[in-house]
Protein backbone atom coordinates (compact mmCIF):
# COMPACT_ATOMS: atom_id res chain seq x y z
CA UNK A 1 0.00 0.00 0.00
CA UNK A 2 1.17 3.42 -0.99
CA UNK A 3 1.98 5.52 2.10
CA UNK A 4 2.45 8.59 -0.07
CA UNK A 5 -1.09 8.24 -1.33
CA UNK A 6 -2.54 8.24 2.16
CA UNK A 7 -0.35 11.22 3.09
CA UNK A 8 -1.68 12.97 0.04
CA UNK A 9 -5.25 12.02 0.92
CA UNK A 10 -4.93 13.30 4.47
CA UNK A 11 -3.64 16.60 3.08
CA UNK A 12 -6.81 16.83 0.96
CA UNK A 13 -8.90 15.94 4.00
CA UNK A 14 -7.33 18.67 6.13
CA UNK A 15 -7.44 21.22 3.35
CA UNK A 16 -11.08 20.48 2.63
CA UNK A 17 -12.02 20.60 6.34
CA UNK A 18 -10.23 23.93 6.90
CA UNK A 19 -11.79 25.37 3.74
CA UNK A 20 -15.27 24.29 4.81
CA UNK A 21 -14.76 25.65 8.35
CA UNK A 22 -13.71 29.00 6.90
CA UNK A 23 -16.74 29.57 4.71
CA UNK A 24 -19.35 27.88 6.96
CA UNK A 25 -20.25 31.15 8.76
CA UNK A 26 -20.78 32.82 5.39
CA UNK A 27 -23.15 30.02 4.33
CA UNK A 28 -25.06 30.31 7.61
CA UNK A 29 -25.41 34.05 7.07
CA UNK A 30 -26.69 33.57 3.51
CA UNK A 31 -29.22 30.95 4.64
CA UNK A 32 -30.50 33.24 7.39
CA UNK A 33 -30.57 36.24 5.07
CA UNK A 34 -32.76 34.51 2.52
CA UNK A 35 -34.83 32.84 5.25
CA UNK A 36 -34.00 29.33 4.07
CA UNK A 37 -35.03 27.99 7.43
CA UNK A 38 -37.16 25.26 8.88
CA UNK A 39 -40.81 26.21 9.22
CA UNK A 40 -43.21 24.97 11.88
CA UNK A 41 -46.32 24.66 9.77
CA UNK A 42 -45.79 21.13 8.55
CA UNK A 43 -43.34 19.44 10.82
CA UNK A 44 -43.88 15.85 11.88
CA UNK A 45 -41.54 15.86 14.76
CA UNK A 46 -41.81 15.65 18.44
CA UNK A 47 -42.84 18.50 20.66
CA UNK A 48 -40.67 19.88 23.44
CA UNK A 49 -36.97 20.17 22.64
CA UNK A 50 -37.63 19.68 18.95
CA UNK A 51 -39.49 22.98 18.82
CA UNK A 52 -36.11 24.67 19.02
CA UNK A 53 -35.35 23.35 15.54
CA UNK A 54 -37.87 25.74 14.02
CA UNK A 55 -35.98 28.57 12.37
CA UNK A 56 -32.78 26.52 11.90
CA UNK A 57 -31.35 27.02 8.40
CA UNK A 58 -31.62 24.09 6.02
CA UNK A 59 -29.52 23.41 2.90
CA UNK A 60 -26.41 23.23 5.10
CA UNK A 61 -25.40 20.32 2.86
CA UNK A 62 -24.24 22.98 0.40
CA UNK A 63 -21.16 23.30 2.61
CA UNK A 64 -20.10 19.78 1.64
CA UNK A 65 -21.33 19.80 -1.95
CA UNK A 66 -19.66 23.09 -2.86
CA UNK A 67 -16.42 22.40 -0.96
CA UNK A 68 -16.05 18.95 -2.53
CA UNK A 69 -16.86 20.23 -6.02
CA UNK A 70 -14.45 23.15 -5.82
CA UNK A 71 -11.54 21.20 -4.28
CA UNK A 72 -12.00 18.34 -6.76
CA UNK A 73 -12.26 20.64 -9.76
CA UNK A 74 -9.15 22.51 -8.72
CA UNK A 75 -6.88 19.66 -7.68
CA UNK A 76 -8.37 16.29 -8.63
CA UNK A 77 -10.16 16.87 -11.91
CA UNK A 78 -9.78 14.15 -14.50
CA UNK A 79 -12.04 12.80 -17.18
CA UNK A 80 -11.64 9.12 -16.33
CA UNK A 81 -12.40 9.26 -12.63
CA UNK A 82 -13.98 12.35 -11.15
CA UNK A 83 -16.07 13.90 -13.93
CA UNK A 84 -19.00 11.57 -13.51
CA UNK A 85 -19.09 11.27 -9.68
CA UNK A 86 -19.06 15.04 -9.32
CA UNK A 87 -21.54 15.45 -12.19
CA UNK A 88 -24.02 12.95 -10.76
CA UNK A 89 -23.61 14.38 -7.27
CA UNK A 90 -24.36 17.77 -8.82
CA UNK A 91 -27.54 16.51 -10.53
CA UNK A 92 -28.78 14.87 -7.33
CA UNK A 93 -27.87 17.96 -5.28
CA UNK A 94 -29.65 20.22 -7.76
CA UNK A 95 -32.75 18.06 -7.43
CA UNK A 96 -32.48 18.26 -3.64
CA UNK A 97 -31.90 22.02 -3.70
CA UNK A 98 -34.99 22.54 -5.86
CA UNK A 99 -37.00 20.45 -3.43
CA UNK A 100 -35.68 22.38 -0.42
CA UNK A 101 -36.44 25.75 -1.99
CA UNK A 102 -39.88 24.73 -3.23
CA UNK A 103 -40.73 23.43 0.23
CA UNK A 104 -39.99 26.88 1.64
CA UNK A 105 -41.05 29.27 -1.09
CA UNK A 106 -43.26 27.17 -3.38
CA UNK A 107 -47.02 27.00 -3.55
CA UNK A 108 -49.08 23.94 -2.81
CA UNK A 109 -49.15 21.73 -5.88
CA UNK A 110 -52.45 21.06 -7.61
CA UNK A 111 -53.21 17.43 -8.19
CA UNK A 112 -55.62 16.28 -10.85
CA UNK A 113 -57.36 12.96 -10.52
CA UNK A 114 -56.84 10.47 -13.34
CA UNK A 115 -60.61 10.36 -13.90
CA UNK A 116 -60.60 14.15 -14.29
CA UNK A 117 -57.87 13.97 -16.94
CA UNK A 118 -59.76 11.23 -18.78
CA UNK A 119 -62.83 13.45 -18.78
CA UNK A 120 -60.84 16.41 -20.08
CA UNK A 121 -59.49 14.26 -22.92
CA UNK A 122 -63.07 13.61 -23.94
CA UNK A 123 -64.67 16.99 -23.45
CA UNK A 124 -62.06 19.76 -23.78
CA UNK A 125 -63.07 22.11 -26.60
CA UNK A 126 -59.48 22.70 -27.85
CA UNK A 127 -57.90 19.75 -29.66
CA UNK A 128 -54.42 20.89 -28.58
CA UNK A 129 -55.41 20.59 -24.95
CA UNK A 130 -56.98 17.19 -25.58
CA UNK A 131 -53.71 16.07 -27.16
CA UNK A 132 -51.79 17.54 -24.22
CA UNK A 133 -53.88 15.57 -21.74
CA UNK A 134 -53.36 12.37 -23.75
CA UNK A 135 -49.61 12.99 -23.64
CA UNK A 136 -49.46 13.66 -19.90
CA UNK A 137 -51.74 10.76 -19.00
CA UNK A 138 -48.94 8.15 -18.58
CA UNK A 139 -46.97 10.61 -16.43
CA UNK A 140 -50.01 11.28 -14.26
CA UNK A 141 -50.67 7.54 -13.98
CA UNK A 142 -47.05 7.13 -12.84
CA UNK A 143 -47.57 9.90 -10.28
CA UNK A 144 -50.67 8.22 -8.96
CA UNK A 145 -49.02 4.80 -8.75
CA UNK A 146 -46.05 6.03 -6.70
CA UNK A 147 -48.01 8.44 -4.52
CA UNK A 148 -48.68 5.44 -2.28
CA UNK A 149 -45.07 5.73 -1.06
CA UNK A 150 -45.24 9.44 -0.29
CA UNK A 151 -46.71 10.32 3.05
CA UNK A 152 -47.83 13.92 2.58
CA UNK A 153 -47.28 15.61 -0.77
CA UNK A 154 -46.23 19.10 0.19
CA UNK A 155 -45.05 21.98 -1.90
CA UNK A 156 -41.75 20.52 -3.00
CA UNK A 157 -40.84 18.02 -5.67
CA UNK A 158 -43.15 15.04 -5.61
CA UNK A 159 -42.13 11.42 -5.31
CA UNK A 160 -42.59 10.58 -8.99
CA UNK A 161 -40.51 13.56 -10.09
CA UNK A 162 -37.78 12.69 -7.61
CA UNK A 163 -37.70 9.12 -8.84
CA UNK A 164 -37.42 10.29 -12.45
CA UNK A 165 -34.42 12.53 -11.79
CA UNK A 166 -32.76 9.95 -9.57
CA UNK A 167 -33.25 7.42 -12.35
CA UNK A 168 -31.54 9.90 -14.67
CA UNK A 169 -28.59 10.21 -12.26
CA UNK A 170 -28.41 6.41 -11.99
CA UNK A 171 -28.60 6.02 -15.77
CA UNK A 172 -25.70 8.45 -16.31
CA UNK A 173 -23.60 6.50 -13.83
CA UNK A 174 -24.54 3.20 -15.49
CA UNK A 175 -23.66 4.59 -18.93
CA UNK A 176 -20.29 5.73 -17.62
CA UNK A 177 -19.56 2.40 -15.96
CA UNK A 178 -20.71 0.25 -18.88
CA UNK A 179 -19.48 2.20 -21.87
CA UNK A 180 -16.58 4.31 -20.64
CA UNK A 181 -14.74 2.31 -18.02
CA UNK A 182 -14.16 -0.77 -20.16
CA UNK A 183 -15.00 -4.45 -20.14
CA UNK A 184 -13.39 -5.10 -16.75
CA UNK A 185 -16.34 -3.23 -15.18
CA UNK A 186 -18.89 -5.64 -16.62
CA UNK A 187 -18.38 -7.83 -13.60
CA UNK A 188 -19.12 -7.54 -9.89
CA UNK A 189 -16.61 -8.13 -7.18
CA UNK A 190 -17.87 -10.68 -4.64
CA UNK A 191 -16.15 -10.92 -1.25
CA UNK A 192 -14.02 -14.06 -0.79
CA UNK A 193 -14.90 -15.18 -4.34
CA UNK A 194 -13.38 -12.76 -6.84
CA UNK A 195 -15.27 -11.46 -9.86
CA UNK A 196 -18.64 -12.55 -11.26
CA UNK A 197 -19.49 -11.47 -14.81
CA UNK A 198 -22.85 -9.71 -15.01
CA UNK A 199 -22.63 -8.17 -18.50
CA UNK A 200 -25.28 -5.55 -19.19
CA UNK A 201 -27.03 -6.40 -15.90
CA UNK A 202 -24.55 -3.97 -14.39
CA UNK A 203 -26.77 -1.17 -15.77
CA UNK A 204 -29.93 -1.89 -13.67
CA UNK A 205 -27.74 -2.83 -10.70
CA UNK A 206 -26.00 0.55 -10.81
CA UNK A 207 -29.26 2.47 -11.33
CA UNK A 208 -30.85 0.66 -8.39
CA UNK A 209 -27.96 1.34 -6.01
CA UNK A 210 -27.69 5.02 -6.96
CA UNK A 211 -31.43 5.62 -6.51
CA UNK A 212 -31.80 3.51 -3.39
CA UNK A 213 -28.72 4.92 -1.64
CA UNK A 214 -29.57 8.56 -2.43
CA UNK A 215 -33.05 8.09 -0.95
CA UNK A 216 -31.66 6.14 2.01
CA UNK A 217 -29.34 8.98 3.03
CA UNK A 218 -32.18 11.43 2.49
CA UNK A 219 -34.41 9.49 4.89
CA UNK A 220 -31.67 9.14 7.51
CA UNK A 221 -31.24 12.91 7.66
CA UNK A 222 -33.78 13.34 10.43
CA UNK A 223 -31.80 13.92 13.62
CA UNK A 224 -29.02 16.38 14.36
CA UNK A 225 -25.69 14.82 13.45
CA UNK A 226 -27.05 11.45 12.35
CA UNK A 227 -26.54 11.68 8.60
CA UNK A 228 -23.38 13.82 8.89
CA UNK A 229 -21.60 11.56 11.37
CA UNK A 230 -22.62 8.39 9.58
CA UNK A 231 -21.46 9.80 6.24
CA UNK A 232 -18.04 10.63 7.73
CA UNK A 233 -17.69 6.99 8.76
CA UNK A 234 -18.86 5.76 5.34
CA UNK A 235 -16.55 7.99 3.29
CA UNK A 236 -13.66 7.22 5.63
CA UNK A 237 -14.30 3.56 4.91
CA UNK A 238 -14.48 4.28 1.17
CA UNK A 239 -11.23 6.25 1.42
CA UNK A 240 -9.47 3.30 3.07
CA UNK A 241 -10.84 0.83 0.50
CA UNK A 242 -9.85 3.11 -2.40
CA UNK A 243 -6.38 3.43 -0.87
CA UNK A 244 -5.97 -0.33 -0.53
CA UNK A 245 -7.10 -0.67 -4.16
CA UNK A 246 -4.61 1.98 -5.26
CA UNK A 247 -7.34 4.18 -6.76
CA UNK A 248 -5.66 7.57 -6.43
CA UNK A 249 -8.44 9.87 -7.63
CA UNK A 250 -11.10 8.16 -5.51
CA UNK A 251 -8.90 8.09 -2.41
CA UNK A 252 -8.46 11.84 -2.77
CA UNK A 253 -12.13 12.44 -3.59
CA UNK A 254 -13.31 10.46 -0.57
CA UNK A 255 -10.78 12.25 1.64
CA UNK A 256 -12.11 15.59 0.40
CA UNK A 257 -15.67 14.53 1.27
CA UNK A 258 -14.61 13.41 4.77
CA UNK A 259 -12.90 16.76 5.39
CA UNK A 260 -15.94 18.78 4.32
CA UNK A 261 -18.24 16.49 6.32
CA UNK A 262 -16.19 17.04 9.48
CA UNK A 263 -16.83 20.78 9.19
CA UNK A 264 -20.49 20.19 8.38
CA UNK A 265 -21.06 17.78 11.28
CA UNK A 266 -19.32 20.17 13.69
CA UNK A 267 -22.06 22.68 12.96
CA UNK A 268 -24.80 20.07 12.69
CA UNK A 269 -24.38 18.43 16.10
CA UNK A 270 -27.26 19.23 18.47
CA UNK A 271 -28.25 22.05 18.69
CA UNK A 272 -27.65 22.32 14.96
CA UNK A 273 -26.51 25.58 13.42
CA UNK A 274 -27.86 24.28 10.14
CA UNK A 275 -29.34 21.11 8.71
CA UNK A 276 -28.27 19.17 5.65
CA UNK A 277 -31.45 19.39 3.60
CA UNK A 278 -32.15 17.34 0.49
CA UNK A 279 -29.40 19.18 -1.34
CA UNK A 280 -26.79 17.44 0.80
CA UNK A 281 -28.46 14.13 1.51
CA UNK A 282 -29.43 13.30 -2.09
CA UNK A 283 -26.09 14.53 -3.47
CA UNK A 284 -23.95 12.66 -0.95
CA UNK A 285 -26.12 9.55 -1.15
CA UNK A 286 -25.61 9.40 -4.90
CA UNK A 287 -21.86 10.06 -4.48
CA UNK A 288 -21.59 7.27 -1.91
CA UNK A 289 -23.08 4.77 -4.36
CA UNK A 290 -21.00 5.95 -7.33
CA UNK A 291 -17.72 5.91 -5.41
CA UNK A 292 -18.38 2.39 -4.17
CA UNK A 293 -19.39 1.22 -7.66
CA UNK A 294 -16.37 2.92 -9.25
CA UNK A 295 -13.92 1.03 -7.04
CA UNK A 296 -15.87 -2.16 -7.80
CA UNK A 297 -17.28 -2.61 -4.31
CA UNK A 298 -20.97 -2.43 -5.28
CA UNK A 299 -21.95 -5.39 -3.14
CA UNK A 300 -20.46 -3.67 -0.09
CA UNK A 301 -22.80 -0.66 -0.38
CA UNK A 302 -25.35 -2.14 2.10
CA UNK A 303 -22.50 -2.43 4.64
CA UNK A 304 -20.92 0.93 3.82
CA UNK A 305 -24.30 2.59 4.07
CA UNK A 306 -25.66 0.26 6.72
CA UNK A 307 -27.57 2.73 8.88
CA UNK A 308 -29.00 4.47 5.80
CA UNK A 309 -30.25 1.15 4.48
CA UNK A 310 -31.78 0.28 7.85
CA UNK A 311 -33.58 3.62 7.81
CA UNK A 312 -35.00 3.20 4.32
CA UNK A 313 -35.94 -0.43 4.91
CA UNK A 314 -37.83 0.63 8.05
CA UNK A 315 -39.86 3.03 5.88
CA UNK A 316 -40.53 0.34 3.27
CA UNK A 317 -41.69 -2.10 5.98
CA UNK A 318 -43.90 0.57 7.54
CA UNK A 319 -45.55 1.49 4.21
CA UNK A 320 -46.03 -2.21 3.37
CA UNK A 321 -47.64 -2.96 6.74
CA UNK A 322 -49.79 0.17 6.65
CA UNK A 323 -51.13 -0.35 3.15
CA UNK A 324 -51.45 -4.12 3.06
CA UNK A 325 -51.95 -5.19 6.65
CA UNK A 326 -53.58 -2.03 7.99
CA UNK A 327 -51.32 -1.73 11.00
CA UNK A 328 -48.05 -0.14 12.05
CA UNK A 329 -44.86 -2.16 12.30
CA UNK A 330 -42.95 0.68 13.97
CA UNK A 331 -44.54 3.35 16.10
CA UNK A 332 -43.22 5.77 13.52
CA UNK A 333 -40.88 5.51 10.56
CA UNK A 334 -38.00 6.05 9.82
CA UNK A 335 -36.67 3.95 12.64
CA UNK A 336 -34.95 6.83 14.49
CA UNK A 337 -38.39 8.31 15.20
CA UNK A 338 -39.53 4.91 16.52
CA UNK A 339 -36.78 5.06 19.13
CA UNK A 340 -37.75 8.64 19.98
CA UNK A 341 -41.24 7.34 20.71
CA UNK A 342 -39.67 4.65 22.88
CA UNK A 343 -38.18 7.44 24.98
CA UNK A 344 -34.59 7.45 23.75
CA UNK A 345 -32.97 10.88 23.66
CA UNK A 346 -31.82 12.28 20.33
CA UNK A 347 -28.17 12.07 21.40
CA UNK A 348 -28.52 8.45 22.47
CA UNK A 349 -30.06 7.44 19.15
CA UNK A 350 -27.47 9.32 17.09
CA UNK A 351 -24.45 7.99 18.96
CA UNK A 352 -25.68 4.41 19.02
CA UNK A 353 -26.47 4.59 15.32
CA UNK A 354 -22.95 5.97 14.65
CA UNK A 355 -21.41 3.05 16.54
CA UNK A 356 -23.51 0.40 14.82
CA UNK A 357 -22.77 2.03 11.49
CA UNK A 358 -19.02 2.13 12.22
CA UNK A 359 -19.09 -1.56 13.08
CA UNK A 360 -20.61 -2.47 9.71
CA UNK A 361 -18.28 -0.15 7.79
CA UNK A 362 -15.35 -1.94 9.46
CA UNK A 363 -16.87 -5.24 8.32
CA UNK A 364 -17.02 -3.79 4.78
CA UNK A 365 -13.33 -2.80 4.93
CA UNK A 366 -12.40 -6.22 6.29
CA UNK A 367 -14.35 -7.99 3.53
CA UNK A 368 -12.90 -5.78 0.82
CA UNK A 369 -9.40 -6.96 1.74
CA UNK A 370 -10.28 -10.57 0.82
CA UNK A 371 -10.00 -10.68 -2.95
Amino acid sequence: MDIKLIQHALTYLLFSAIGAFIWAPLLTKILYKYKITRRDEFDFTIKGDRNKKIGTPIMGGLLVIITVTVVTMLFNWNRENTYVPIGVMGIAALLGATDDLLNIFGKKRRERKISHILNLIKVHKKWRMRLWYVLILPWEAFRKSVSIFGSHPGRGIQVHEKLFFQFLAGAITAWWIYFKLGVQWHSLWIPFDGQVGVGWWIIPIVIFFVMFTANAVNIADGLDGLAGGSLIITFLGLMIISWTEGRVSFTLLNATVVGALIAYTYFNIKPARFQMGDVGSLGLGALLAINAIAINRTVLIPFLGFIFYIEIISVIIQVFCRRLLGRRFFKMAPIHHHFEFRGWSEEKIVMRFWLIHAFFVIIAIWMSLYK
Binding site: F44, I46, K47, G48, I148, R322, R323, L324, L325, G326, R327, R328, K331, M332, E340, F341, G343
Partner: protein, 271 residues
Protein backbone atom coordinates in the same frame (compact mmCIF):
# COMPACT_ATOMS: atom_id res chain seq x y z
CA UNK B 1 -77.06 -18.17 36.01
CA UNK B 2 -76.86 -15.77 33.04
CA UNK B 3 -74.95 -16.83 29.94
CA UNK B 4 -72.14 -14.49 28.94
CA UNK B 5 -69.43 -14.06 26.32
CA UNK B 6 -65.93 -15.37 27.00
CA UNK B 7 -63.69 -13.38 29.40
CA UNK B 8 -61.47 -12.20 26.51
CA UNK B 9 -64.52 -10.82 24.66
CA UNK B 10 -65.78 -9.13 27.83
CA UNK B 11 -62.37 -7.55 28.28
CA UNK B 12 -62.58 -6.09 24.77
CA UNK B 13 -66.07 -4.71 25.51
CA UNK B 14 -64.79 -3.13 28.72
CA UNK B 15 -61.88 -1.78 26.68
CA UNK B 16 -64.29 -0.02 24.33
CA UNK B 17 -66.39 1.30 27.21
CA UNK B 18 -63.30 2.59 29.01
CA UNK B 19 -60.30 2.75 26.70
CA UNK B 20 -57.14 1.38 28.38
CA UNK B 21 -55.14 4.61 28.68
CA UNK B 22 -52.42 4.50 31.33
CA UNK B 23 -53.56 7.34 33.57
CA UNK B 24 -56.99 8.39 32.26
CA UNK B 25 -60.06 6.38 33.09
CA UNK B 26 -63.58 6.36 31.71
CA UNK B 27 -62.78 7.36 28.13
CA UNK B 28 -65.58 5.73 26.15
CA UNK B 29 -64.56 4.82 22.61
CA UNK B 30 -66.23 7.20 20.13
CA UNK B 31 -68.13 6.09 17.05
CA UNK B 32 -66.40 6.57 13.73
CA UNK B 33 -67.60 5.43 10.34
CA UNK B 34 -65.29 5.70 7.34
CA UNK B 35 -68.10 6.03 4.80
CA UNK B 36 -67.86 9.82 4.52
CA UNK B 37 -64.06 10.07 4.40
CA UNK B 38 -63.73 6.92 2.30
CA UNK B 39 -60.09 6.35 3.21
CA UNK B 40 -58.56 3.34 1.47
CA UNK B 41 -55.40 1.42 2.25
CA UNK B 42 -55.28 3.15 5.61
CA UNK B 43 -54.48 1.84 9.09
CA UNK B 44 -57.44 -0.19 10.32
CA UNK B 45 -57.63 1.95 13.42
CA UNK B 46 -58.21 5.00 11.22
CA UNK B 47 -61.16 3.48 9.37
CA UNK B 48 -63.23 2.54 12.40
CA UNK B 49 -62.06 -1.05 12.74
CA UNK B 50 -59.49 -0.79 15.52
CA UNK B 51 -59.39 -2.74 18.77
CA UNK B 52 -59.24 -0.72 22.04
CA UNK B 53 -55.49 -1.12 22.46
CA UNK B 54 -54.86 -0.07 18.88
CA UNK B 55 -57.01 3.04 19.34
CA UNK B 56 -55.10 3.98 22.49
CA UNK B 57 -51.73 3.46 20.79
CA UNK B 58 -52.72 5.47 17.73
CA UNK B 59 -54.07 8.30 19.91
CA UNK B 60 -50.69 8.56 21.63
CA UNK B 61 -48.81 8.51 18.33
CA UNK B 62 -51.04 11.16 16.73
CA UNK B 63 -50.80 13.36 19.81
CA UNK B 64 -47.01 13.25 19.82
CA UNK B 65 -46.51 13.31 16.06
CA UNK B 66 -48.76 16.32 15.45
CA UNK B 67 -47.79 18.10 18.68
CA UNK B 68 -51.35 18.06 20.09
CA UNK B 69 -50.12 18.05 23.68
CA UNK B 70 -52.59 15.41 24.92
CA UNK B 71 -50.04 12.71 25.72
CA UNK B 72 -46.38 13.00 26.58
CA UNK B 73 -43.51 10.86 25.32
CA UNK B 74 -44.22 8.24 27.99
CA UNK B 75 -47.81 7.90 26.78
CA UNK B 76 -49.27 9.59 29.87
CA UNK B 77 -52.09 12.09 29.59
CA UNK B 78 -50.72 15.61 29.79
CA UNK B 79 -53.92 17.66 30.05
CA UNK B 80 -55.41 19.26 33.16
CA UNK B 81 -52.37 18.31 35.23
CA UNK B 82 -52.85 21.32 37.51
CA UNK B 83 -56.46 20.36 38.30
CA UNK B 84 -56.61 16.70 37.40
CA UNK B 85 -60.36 16.06 37.61
CA UNK B 86 -60.73 12.61 36.03
CA UNK B 87 -63.89 13.43 34.08
CA UNK B 88 -62.30 16.55 32.57
CA UNK B 89 -59.29 14.58 31.42
CA UNK B 90 -61.50 11.85 29.99
CA UNK B 91 -63.64 14.40 28.17
CA UNK B 92 -60.57 16.10 26.75
CA UNK B 93 -59.19 12.81 25.48
CA UNK B 94 -62.57 11.86 23.98
CA UNK B 95 -62.75 15.13 22.09
CA UNK B 96 -59.24 14.55 20.83
CA UNK B 97 -60.23 11.09 19.60
CA UNK B 98 -63.31 12.42 17.80
CA UNK B 99 -61.39 15.30 16.22
CA UNK B 100 -58.81 12.87 14.87
CA UNK B 101 -61.30 10.33 13.49
CA UNK B 102 -60.38 7.70 16.04
CA UNK B 103 -63.22 5.42 16.99
CA UNK B 104 -65.03 2.31 15.98
CA UNK B 105 -68.04 1.54 13.81
CA UNK B 106 -70.69 -1.03 14.67
CA UNK B 107 -69.27 -3.84 12.54
CA UNK B 108 -65.69 -3.16 13.68
CA UNK B 109 -66.89 -3.27 17.28
CA UNK B 110 -68.70 -6.58 16.76
CA UNK B 111 -65.88 -8.09 14.70
CA UNK B 112 -63.16 -7.34 17.25
CA UNK B 113 -65.20 -8.72 20.15
CA UNK B 114 -66.26 -11.87 18.32
CA UNK B 115 -62.73 -12.41 17.09
CA UNK B 116 -61.53 -12.50 20.69
CA UNK B 117 -64.50 -14.64 21.71
CA UNK B 118 -64.06 -17.32 19.06
CA UNK B 119 -60.32 -17.37 19.47
CA UNK B 120 -60.66 -18.02 23.17
CA UNK B 121 -63.50 -20.52 22.97
CA UNK B 122 -62.76 -22.37 19.72
CA UNK B 123 -59.28 -21.26 18.65
CA UNK B 124 -60.80 -20.05 15.39
CA UNK B 125 -59.96 -16.79 13.63
CA UNK B 126 -63.57 -15.94 12.92
CA UNK B 127 -62.73 -13.03 10.60
CA UNK B 128 -61.03 -15.39 8.15
CA UNK B 129 -63.92 -17.85 8.16
CA UNK B 130 -66.55 -15.40 6.96
CA UNK B 131 -67.81 -15.33 3.41
CA UNK B 132 -66.99 -11.86 2.11
CA UNK B 133 -68.66 -11.98 -1.31
CA UNK B 134 -68.54 -13.50 -4.79
CA UNK B 135 -68.11 -10.36 -6.81
CA UNK B 136 -64.70 -9.33 -5.52
CA UNK B 137 -61.69 -9.67 -7.81
CA UNK B 138 -58.46 -11.53 -7.11
CA UNK B 139 -56.73 -8.46 -5.64
CA UNK B 140 -59.60 -7.81 -3.23
CA UNK B 141 -59.51 -11.46 -2.21
CA UNK B 142 -55.80 -11.12 -1.47
CA UNK B 143 -56.42 -7.96 0.57
CA UNK B 144 -59.31 -9.68 2.35
CA UNK B 145 -56.90 -12.41 3.47
CA UNK B 146 -54.46 -9.82 4.79
CA UNK B 147 -56.98 -7.44 6.37
CA UNK B 148 -59.95 -9.64 7.32
CA UNK B 149 -61.57 -7.41 9.97
CA UNK B 150 -61.79 -4.48 7.56
CA UNK B 151 -63.89 -6.55 5.15
CA UNK B 152 -66.57 -7.31 7.73
CA UNK B 153 -69.65 -5.15 7.36
CA UNK B 154 -73.14 -5.60 8.75
CA UNK B 155 -74.20 -6.98 5.36
CA UNK B 156 -71.41 -9.59 5.54
CA UNK B 157 -72.48 -10.60 9.05
CA UNK B 158 -76.12 -10.80 7.94
CA UNK B 159 -75.32 -12.87 4.85
CA UNK B 160 -77.05 -16.24 5.01
CA UNK B 161 -73.76 -17.94 4.21
CA UNK B 162 -72.37 -16.57 7.46
CA UNK B 163 -75.31 -16.61 9.81
CA UNK B 164 -78.70 -18.17 10.44
CA UNK B 165 -81.83 -16.42 11.59
CA UNK B 166 -83.09 -17.02 15.14
CA UNK B 167 -86.82 -16.69 15.27
CA UNK B 168 -87.45 -17.43 18.91
CA UNK B 169 -86.33 -14.96 21.57
CA UNK B 170 -85.99 -17.82 24.04
CA UNK B 171 -83.16 -19.27 21.94
CA UNK B 172 -81.04 -16.13 21.94
CA UNK B 173 -77.49 -16.62 23.22
CA UNK B 174 -74.50 -14.35 23.87
CA UNK B 175 -72.63 -13.83 20.59
CA UNK B 176 -75.86 -13.54 18.57
CA UNK B 177 -76.43 -10.36 16.62
CA UNK B 178 -79.44 -8.09 16.26
CA UNK B 179 -79.19 -6.95 12.66
CA UNK B 180 -80.93 -3.86 11.30
CA UNK B 181 -80.79 -3.56 7.52
CA UNK B 182 -81.74 -0.37 5.64
CA UNK B 183 -82.47 1.64 8.71
CA UNK B 184 -82.42 5.30 9.69
CA UNK B 185 -84.77 8.01 8.40
CA UNK B 186 -83.36 7.63 4.88
CA UNK B 187 -83.09 3.84 5.02
CA UNK B 188 -79.48 4.16 3.96
CA UNK B 189 -77.42 2.38 6.56
CA UNK B 190 -77.19 -0.90 8.44
CA UNK B 191 -76.54 -1.50 12.10
CA UNK B 192 -75.62 -4.43 14.34
CA UNK B 193 -75.95 -5.01 18.08
CA UNK B 194 -74.01 -7.76 19.81
CA UNK B 195 -75.82 -9.76 22.49
CA UNK B 196 -73.48 -10.07 25.45
CA UNK B 197 -75.57 -11.66 28.18
CA UNK B 198 -78.92 -13.45 28.46
CA UNK B 199 -80.85 -14.86 31.39
CA UNK B 200 -84.15 -15.69 29.73
CA UNK B 201 -85.85 -12.47 30.79
CA UNK B 202 -83.22 -9.88 30.02
CA UNK B 203 -81.02 -9.62 26.98
CA UNK B 204 -77.99 -7.36 27.35
CA UNK B 205 -76.39 -5.95 24.23
CA UNK B 206 -73.41 -3.78 23.33
CA UNK B 207 -72.80 -1.75 20.19
CA UNK B 208 -71.06 1.28 18.73
CA UNK B 209 -73.51 3.94 17.70
CA UNK B 210 -74.07 7.64 17.17
CA UNK B 211 -77.37 8.98 18.43
CA UNK B 212 -78.47 12.21 16.80
CA UNK B 213 -79.18 13.77 20.19
CA UNK B 214 -75.64 13.27 21.47
CA UNK B 215 -73.96 15.96 19.40
CA UNK B 216 -70.45 15.89 18.04
CA UNK B 217 -68.72 14.31 21.01
CA UNK B 218 -71.32 12.25 22.86
CA UNK B 219 -71.47 9.13 20.70
CA UNK B 220 -69.59 5.87 21.04
CA UNK B 221 -69.63 2.36 22.41
CA UNK B 222 -72.62 1.67 24.65
CA UNK B 223 -74.57 -1.06 26.40
CA UNK B 224 -78.30 -1.57 26.68
CA UNK B 225 -80.88 -4.05 27.92
CA UNK B 226 -83.90 -5.56 26.20
CA UNK B 227 -86.39 -6.77 28.80
CA UNK B 228 -88.40 -9.61 27.35
CA UNK B 229 -92.04 -9.02 28.24
CA UNK B 230 -93.55 -11.64 25.95
CA UNK B 231 -91.55 -14.43 24.38
CA UNK B 232 -94.15 -14.91 21.68
CA UNK B 233 -93.82 -11.36 20.41
CA UNK B 234 -91.07 -9.91 18.24
CA UNK B 235 -88.17 -7.70 19.29
CA UNK B 236 -90.07 -4.44 18.92
CA UNK B 237 -92.70 -5.57 21.40
CA UNK B 238 -90.10 -5.80 24.18
CA UNK B 239 -88.75 -2.99 26.39
CA UNK B 240 -85.51 -1.48 25.13
CA UNK B 241 -83.50 0.51 27.64
CA UNK B 242 -80.21 2.27 27.05
CA UNK B 243 -78.54 5.20 28.77
CA UNK B 244 -81.65 5.75 30.90
CA UNK B 245 -83.93 6.06 27.86
CA UNK B 246 -86.74 3.60 27.21
CA UNK B 247 -88.31 2.64 23.88
CA UNK B 248 -89.32 5.77 21.92
CA UNK B 249 -86.70 7.86 23.76
CA UNK B 250 -84.12 5.20 23.05
CA UNK B 251 -82.71 5.93 19.59
CA UNK B 252 -81.48 2.37 19.21
CA UNK B 253 -85.08 1.21 19.54
CA UNK B 254 -86.21 3.86 17.07
CA UNK B 255 -83.53 2.69 14.66
CA UNK B 256 -84.72 -0.89 15.09
CA UNK B 257 -88.23 0.26 14.33
CA UNK B 258 -87.14 2.08 11.20
CA UNK B 259 -85.23 -0.92 9.85
CA UNK B 260 -86.67 -2.60 6.78
CA UNK B 261 -85.28 -5.87 8.08
CA UNK B 262 -84.86 -6.47 11.80
CA UNK B 263 -83.63 -9.89 12.70
CA UNK B 264 -81.59 -11.90 15.17
CA UNK B 265 -78.72 -13.75 13.57
CA UNK B 266 -76.32 -16.38 14.83
CA UNK B 267 -73.03 -16.93 13.06
CA UNK B 268 -72.65 -20.48 11.72
CA UNK B 269 -69.26 -20.55 13.29
CA UNK B 270 -70.82 -20.54 16.75
CA UNK B 271 -72.74 -23.75 16.14
Amino acid sequence: MPETLSPAAQKIIQGYLSLPFANVFGVRCPYFNNTKLGQRGQLKVLIGKGAPKEIVEEAKIISIQYCKGIFNKDGLCDVHLDHPAPHEQAECVRQFLVDNNLGVDCSGFVANILRAHFWETKKIDFARKLFIGNKINLWRRFIARLRPVEQISVAVLANDKNSQTINNLAEVKPGDLIIMLKTGPNKNHNHALLITETDGRKVKYAHARAWSGEGKYGHGAAEGIITVNDLNQGLLAQTWEEKGSVNQDNETYVEAKQAEILTIKRLWISN
